[in-house]
Symmetry: C2
DNA sequence: GGGAAAAGTGTTACCGGTAACGCAGATCTT
DNA sequence: AAGATCTGCGTTACCGGTAACACTTTTCCC
C-alpha cells in the first residue's frame, strides 16, 4: 500500500483542472467559478487530501502560520494561563504555536531562538525585553514580527504587551504604609524575568521612601520562585531580622510558602506579620484569609498579545504598547 | 538592503564546494575531509548561515524534527509540568514542540490534529487513548509515531506512557477503609480525560465493595476540575448527604477547594471529615495538615514520553507500554 | 457593436534543501 | 601489479506548494 498522501496534483487531475486552480480554491484566493469550487472541494474531500503546510510555507515565505512562543516556564505561576490563552487565540486565527521554555536563562533563549528561526516563523512572542547581544542580533536580522510580553515597554522593539511592574510595587508599598507597616522586608529570587520582580521591588521601595520609612530588608534567593523558596526565604529573613512586621514576596506562590512558614513559627497574618504576594493565583483561595496581592489578567495578556501579533503580521493597524490590567487586591493578610 | 538569509549555495560558493558537500558537513553525514569541514564551517559562521528547516523537512520527509503535543490544558493541574518536561527533553534531543490544548473536547482534538498533520510532524504525543472516529482514521492514515500519555494502556495504538488509574483509586479506597471511613462520597467533573478520573473512581468503588461498604455518593459537575468546583461540589454533596464522613476528589485542586468549603462549614479534616485528592500538587504544601493524595511523577512522565517517542522515531528499541510511578501519600486529612 | 475590463484558468519558474547515484583518484589486498 | 574497495566530492532530480504572468472567454459600457 502506498503511504504517500495525495498531493495537489492528484486532486487537480481528479477534478480535471490545474494544480493552481486547486490551490486557489483551497485557499479561497484569486478567481474561480462556483462550479469549479464544487468539483475541487468534492475531490479533495474524497481523496482525503491533507495540504502540506511545509511545502506551502517553504514556497511562499508569506504563507507561514508558525508562531514561536517563549516563556520562562510552564509549570508554575501565571505562564500556563498565558500560553493557554495565546494558543487558543492563535488556533482560532489559523496559526500554530511552537513553544519553548528558557528557565530565565538568556543562553537558553538564544538556543531556542536559533532553532525556531530556522522554521521561518511568521511571528514571535518572547517574555521580557532584556535579550542577549546575540539574541538581539538574530531578531534584527530576521525582521520577524515580535511581541514582547510581561513587562510594559514604552519603547518596544516591535510590540509590547504587559504590565507596569513599578506601579504594582508602588501601589503595594502604599498599601503597606496605610496599614501601619513600618518594618518591612522583601523576599524574592534571582530567577526573575529582568524588568519584572525587581522592578516591582523598586516601585515598592520608592513608596516606602516617599513615606519616610527605612528601606526594606531583603532576602533574594538564588533559586526559582516557588512555594518552598517562599517558605525558606521567610525563615531566613525573619531569623536575620526578627523585628520585621511585614514581608512583600516576589509572587503569590512564595507568599503562600511564607505564610506556611509563619504559621509554623507561630505568627499569624495579619496580626503578627503582614504578608503580600503578586499575581493573583487561584490557589490563594484556600487561605482562610484572602491574600493581599496584585491580580494580573493573565489570560487577557495572552489573548491580547496573540491578537496584536497577528494584526501586525497581517499589516493591520495595531498599537505598539498595550497595557494589561493589574488590580491591587487589598485582601486580609497585611 | 537584502533581507534574504544566506542559503546553502551561498555558503557553498564561498567555500568553493558544492551545495551537497555543505549539506553533508552541516549534518555531519556522509564523507568529507577535515579540511573541507573546516572551510565550510568557517564560511557558514562568517555568513551567519541559518539553515532552513522548512526546506529540509519538506525535501526529505525523514528530516522533520517537529513534534505535536496535545494536552487538555496548560493552566491547571499537572499538565504544565508534563509539557515542560516534554519540551525540555525534546529540545535536548534536537526536536521542536508544537503545542495544542483541547479542553477535554474530542472535536478540538480532531481540529488540532488535522492542522498539525499538515506540518508532517515526525511524531505525536496525545493525552488519553480515547479518540473520535475521525481522529483514529487520521492517525491510521498518517502512520506517524505516536505516544499516548496519562493513562497506561496495555494495548496501545503505538506507545503508551502513563499511570494505572484504577490502581490509584483502589489503593485510596483501601486507605479510606483502613482509616475507618464508611460513609463515603466522591466529587468529580465531566471534564475528564476518558479513562482517568472515572477509572480512579471505579477502582475506588471496587475497594469499597470488596470491603463491604455501600457505594459512594457522587457529585459529578459539568465543569472543569478546579478549586472552585471542588468547593461547590463539596457543598452540594454534603447538603444532599450530610451523613458523609469522607470525600474522595477527582484531583488535588478540587480537594483543596473542598477543604476550604469544609472549613467554612465548620468541619475540620480529618476529625469531622476525611478529604483526599489525586496528583500531588505542590500547592498542597500550604495546608496545615498534609493532604492525603496520590503523587504522580509528572515530570518523569513527560520526559519518558518524549524519550520513548524519539526512540521510536529513530527506530531504536523501546517498550510500548511504560508505567509511571504513582505513590500513595497517606497524609493527614483522611 | 466594438473596445475595455473582468472572470476564469493554465504555464512557468522557483523556494532550499536532501536522496540517489556517479566518478576519479587513493589505498588496500593477495 | 591488477582488481577491489574506499574516500571525497559533484550532478541531477525532486519534494508540493505559490507568485507572477499570459491567455481566452465573457460581460460591460457608451
Amino acid at each position: 500500500m502506498d503511504k504517500r498522501k495525495p498531493s495537489l496534483s492528484e486532486v487537480a487531475d481528479a477534478a480535471g483542472v490545474s494544480k493552481m486552480t486547486v490551490s486557489r480554491v483551497l485557499r479561497n484566493s484569486g478567481r474561480f467559478s462556483d462550479e469549479t469550487r464544487e468539483r475541487v472541494m468534492r475531490e479533495a474531500a474524497r481523496l482525503n487530501y491533507v495540504p502540506n503546510r511545509l511545502a506551502a510555507a517553504f514556497g511562499s515565505e508569506t504563507a507561514s502560520t508558525l508562531i514561536g512562543v517563549l516563556v520562562p516556564r510552564l509549570s508554575s505561576g501565571l505562564f500556563g494561563e498565558v500560553v493557554e490563552a495565546i494558543d487558543l487565540a492563535l488556533t482560532r486565527l489559523g496559526y500554530q504555536t511552537m513553544i519553548g521554555t528558557f528557565e530565565h536563562r538568556p543562553d537558553q533563549e538564544e538556543v531556542w531562538l536559533r532553532s525556531v528561526l530556522a522554521w521561518r516563523p511568521a511571528g514571535l512572542i518572547l517574555t521580557g525585553r532584556a535579550h542577549s547581544e546575540a539574541t538581539r542580533a538574530m531578531l534584527a536580522a530576521a525582521t520577524v514580527p515580535l511581541v514582547e510580553i510581561w513587562d510594559l515597554n514604552t519603547r518596544p522593539t516591535d510590540i509590547s504587551v504587559g504590565i507596569n511592574h513599578f506601579d504594582c510595587g508602588h501601589e503595594m508599598g502604599r498599601l503597606f504604609l496605610s496599614r501601619g507597616r513600618r518594618r518591612i522586608g522583601y523576599v524574592g529570587t534571582e530567577a526573575d524575568t529582568p524588568g519584572t520582580g525587581r522592578v516591582r521591588f523598586d516601585g515598592f521601595r520608592r513608596a516606602l521612601a516617599d513615606g519616610g520609612v527605612s528601606d526594606a530588608r531583603q532576602e533574594v534567593l538564588n533559586d526559582r520562585p516557588g512555594f518552598y523558596q517562599g517558605y525558606y526565604g521567610a525563615q531566613n529573613l525573619l531569623s536575620r531580622h526578627p523585628e520585621l512586621d511585614s514581608i512583600y514576596f516576589q509572587n503569590d506562590a512564595m507568599a503562600i510558602g511564607g505564610l506556611a512558614y509563619c504559621r509554623t513559627a507561630g505568627l499569624s497574618a495579619p496580626e503578627d506579620i503582614g504578608i503580600a504576594g503578586w499575581g493573583g493565583m487561584d490557589a490563594a483561595v484556600i487561605l482562610d484569609r484572602r491574600l493581599t496581592t496584585t491580580k494580573i489578567a493573565a489570560r487577557a495578556l495572552g489573548k491580547t498579545a496573540a491578537e496584536a501579533l497577528i494584526a501586525r503580521i497581517r499589516d493591520e493597524p495595531v498599537s505598539d504598547t498595550i497595557g494589561i490590567d493589574a488590580l491591587l487586591i487589598p485582601g486580609e493578610t497585611v
